[in-house]
Symmetry: none
Subunit: 113 residues, 4 copies
DNA sequence: GTGGTCTAGACCACG
DNA sequence: GTGGTCTAGACCACA
């Protein structure tokens, strides 16, 4: 929770959980923390967490049942897909700087060292 | 302007201008479009643009003087610095996926092709 | 059981049983499934079924006695009455669309074809 | 607003507005009452109305813009379509009573008289 | 003025 | 205990 970020809290939570699910941080069928638990941990109102969960459910990533908690529905996306997505975004950014491809490869190689 | 993004419009504008300045899209001392002009171009309220400018001024990137418009203060950061920053961020993300360095280099090379 | 419908489950059950009784699906004095049985069949909690039964008893359609199960009290309403009720409701809806009577008759005839 | 109905208030509002739009009670581009106005008229909290509007927007029926109010997006569905939908639902109900087609036609004709 | 959101506490429905 | 919702009032972002 970054109170500096103008992004509303429910959206920050939604994004973090979505990212975690897509990266396979949860097994399919795993239970997310309860609304009250997470609200308490983050020091925010339960309604805010409930909204984040609701939107995730609307997006098909999780499923909530009264009295039974909230479970993860989505299979983690393959790491290869996530890596490609990140890589393409990085390359687009770098090219926007006017840098040529060799320079990009060189920059990656150097920073990895 | 992405009205789907819950990020407030003033923040979207701020980020775009900040990125443009850092990439050298403006000379130091160059004048930004007037609040009214930009608001008109984007079809939004002047207050929204004013808020973006105010935050940029607070961050030391620009300076507004009554009757004289808004000028760019910040020197463009060297492309090499921006590239390195982006590259390090990308590598951190990729490693968070549990990917080894060779795979990263391979992904970059393939996506550049 | 439609978990998409925000209508609470106990109400969905209540409506279905009430409709079945009114249509004569049960003899007067017939026994409804036990709370446990129905809860098990539907895969829901016994309390939810109990709530539906309680409301039906409150409405005078059924009667529950400890140890003896739940019996149907209401006589099935004559089919003619139910049909007339449905027909009047349908006509009211259709007229609310601004449709004249001939058009209604025509719509029914066509849809029956 | 029917406080007897277990359906949550935000859903009742959503359904009523959706039905009104589909029946052409609003012109495309017409403005809905403001969140505060409607909340005040109905004697409920603004958040409840806001949620109903949010879900309608999510369904593509309306569009809300901060500072500018809420406008109707969806074209009213043709009356003929709505009539057919109602008619088919009515016929299905009637047939579920074990009534033959001639009886249905007769019932409609009699009730129209 | 408009919509968007948060909070804090409360009650309901469900297991 | 769990999720779902409502309220009342508050602040923010925007026109």
């Amino acid at each position: 929770m970054d109170t500096t970020d103008p992004t509303p809290p429910y959206e920050q939570i939604r994004r973090q959980i979505a990212a975690a699910i897509e990266q396979g941080a949860f097994e399919v069928g795993a239970k997310l923390p309860s609304v009250r638990q997470l609200a308490n941990d983050l020091g925010i109102a339960t309604g805010t967490v409930a909204r984040a969960y609701r939107e995730l459910e609307h997006g098909g990533l999780i499923h909530s049942r009264r009295g039974q908690g909230t479970t993860v529905l989505a299979s983690p996306r393959p790491t290869a897909d996530l890596l490609e997505e990140q890589t393409l975004a990085y390359i687009a950014q770098a090219r926007a700087l006017g840098v040529d491809d060799d320079t990009i490869v060189a920059a990656v190689a150097r920073s990895l060292g």
